[in-house]
């Protein structure tokens, strides 16, 4: 099976940055490493031909969530506990080996040609009400978060 070298490099980058999330001691560095993982996943979507999903991944995760997360932890001065690397890598390796066995036991007949664009078209034409509900849910959550924070007298918003 032909594997694109670009895909392998991006996958290695995603895995390394995911490991660095738990290796960095400072929260800001961990959040930046997670942003690299988000970016790598977006490039992987583009590499398999789902550029629209990759674009949305960048818009939502990198542009929205990561910016919010980094802005929140940028002023954090306390350091998180350093992990014990031996236990962390042992747990990661054991889980990865177990999941590898599962991934390669999936029959090859499950991997068939793409119709994701048709699914996206059906979503945005027939099921736009769900998008509207999701938007309302996110908006109400953001307002609820602001209201919760404003209840605290010691915090100036």
């Amino acid at each position: 099976m032909e594997i694109d070298i670009l895909y392998v490099l991006i996958s290695v980058l995603a895995i390394l940055s995911a490991l660095l999330v738990f290796m960095f001691k400072h929260l800001l560095h961990a959040a930046l490493a997670l942003t690299v993982t988000f970016l790598a996943s977006a490039f992987i979507f583009s590499a398999i031909g789902q550029s629209f999903i990759g674009l949305l991944q960048i818009l939502i995760f990198v542009g929205g969530l990561s910016a919010y997360l980094i802005a929140a932890v940028a002023t954090e001065t306390k350091l998180k506990n350093m992990l014990k690397p031996a236990k962390f890598f042992a747990a990661t390796a054991a889980l990865s080996i177990a999941f590898t066995a599962i991934a390669f036991s999936i029959p090859q007949s499950a991997y068939l040609p793409s119709t994701f664009q048709q699914s996206a078209s059906a979503t945005f034409s027939q099921y736009y009400a769900i998008l509207f509900i999701i938007t309302l849910m996110l908006f109400s959550t953001a307002i609820g978060g602001v209201l919760i924070i404003k209840k605290f007298k010691r915090l100036v918003v």
Binding site: L19, L65, F99, L112, I148, R154
Partner: protein
């Protein structure tokens, strides 16, 4: 390529799961959960890219995951600010002391 894509999703999921199991910091757990969300999105896209059906369920599921991830970040960052400005420890073992 798709078995390797699912394998990548599983590895990211394993890293996130190991991070949750081995860290007690509140924000570190938040980052680990986000990592698991990304892994689930990669698995979902890889599975439904290979599907031959033209139903809208894959995109709806994808949008649901994105919505849950965004909502989770907003709610947990709110709690993070609450804990920071009220002097509550970020160790999750002390979260049971939080009262509304």
């Amino acid at each position: 390529m798709f078995p390797y894509l699912i394998e990548l999703a599983f590895i990211l999921f394993a890293i996130g799961l190991a991070g949750i199991a081995s860290d007690r910091h509140f924000v570190a757990l938040l980052l680990a959960v986000e990592l698991i969300m990304v892994a689930s999105i990669i698995a979902l896209v890889s599975f439904f890219t290979s599907s031959t059906s033209a139903s809208a369920s894959p995109v709806i599921m994808l949008l649901s995951i994105w919505a849950v991830a965004a909502t989770e970040i907003i709610v947990l960052i709110t709690f993070y600010i609450y804990m920071k400005y009220n002097g509550i420890s970020f160790d999750i073992t002390t979260l049971s002391k939080m009262k509304w």
